[in-house]
Symmetry: C2
Subunit: 208 residues, 2 copies
């Protein structure tokens, strides 16, 4: 088994200093990488900027923006058997990035934001016989929105987690299947959730 | 000597997940805290969200937004002899913070941003006989802009560093005095720069 994992946040820069991001720590994805490595899998980890060290034994690809993450994933996914996409990518970016540092004007400024590339949807389109496990973080109608995301992005399963998981050491998740049923529930330290998920993938994807 | 230090970035949230920030790691401010503690000073550290551990021996006040940092500083500064303000605060924030998570619309979105409170300028106005050392990070006309910042914010000295210092272990800085002269130049690991700065403050502020 050769597994692609995305992890961490991405950043979308307004200028050379300021950026839009989120508090994703990378812990969930790095824990999945460790659990998969422990099973003897080859792990290819594409990670946004985080402060935790790269997991031992992973092929590590650091990226910054969503476009960087997309480029790395499109290059690496064909050589893998599947992907577990834990990354919390920025889905909007400033339409323009200003060189240097925007000076304060004394007044309000208006920023036009456009959608970034949808990395997970592109992997879903390209998957062939590879499996795709997405992650969803939804504040409103979480289960419905997660299932819609699964279908729109052609995931095989989607892991629904709560916004409180971001930056935390623990997580409480529901694994949702294509038919909308609950495949599993796991809660606890992200390392325990990661081990359960990897064991589940090993047992249910027919990949080894 | 009782020293207030600000460190790290602040975050300004668009919704419950997405925020504007910068790559400040907190390393410069935490190194100043360690150097000051090593001299036997009492250190009061107000820090934005960073991944490095709170320095031993400091009175630690974690904050998230620029408004949080302002509130903490205005409460703590009167009990201190001076401030070294290394924090890279967000100087703009979205005019409104949306509850939950903004849904993608398929099209561009426009965000109106307003200036945050100017923490350093407020400390400058309130300083009385306390000293104020600011930090400036300027991409264009760095020396001129740093000196203007010093005067506008009533700093006694300002440390000019390069945008490349953000998130780095090293720094190369110029300490600029009120009259526009160069008080010192230091370069190297942030811990070395911090020690030089603290020794300089000890020798030049008349505080002990």
């Amino acid at each position: 088994m050769r597994l692609l994992i995305t992890a961490g946040p991405t950043r979308e820069y307004l200028d050379d200093v300021r950026y839009l991001s989120n508090a994703s720590s990378g812990r969930m994805g790095y824990a999945v990488a460790e659990a998969a490595t422990a099973l003897g899998w080859q792990v290819v980890l594409v990670s946004g900027p985080v402060e935790i060290p790269a997991p031992a034994g992973s092929e590590f690809h650091p990226v910054t923006t969503t476009a960087d993450m997309r480029d790395a994933c499109l290059k690496l996914f064909p050589g893998c058997d599947g992907v577990i996409a834990t990354a919390a990518v920025c889905d909007y970016k400033p339409k323009e990035r200003v060189a240097g540092k925007l000076s304060k004007t004394g007044g309000p400024i208006t920023i036009e934001m456009i959608e970034t590339d949808d990395v997970l949807a592109e992997l879903g389109r390209l998957k062939g016989d590879r499996f795709v496990v997405g992650f969803a973080l939804e504040a409103q109608n979480p289960r419905e929105n997660a299932l819609q995301k699964l279908r729109r992005k052609q995931c095989d399963w989607i892991v629904l987690n709560d916004p409180s998981a971001i930056g935390s050491d623990t997580n409480s998740v529901e694994l949702i299947a294509e038919d909308g049923t609950t495949a599993a529930h796991w809660a606890g330290d992200k390392r325990d959730v990661a081990r359960s998920l990897v064991d589940w993938v090993a047992a249910n994807t027919g990949k080894s």
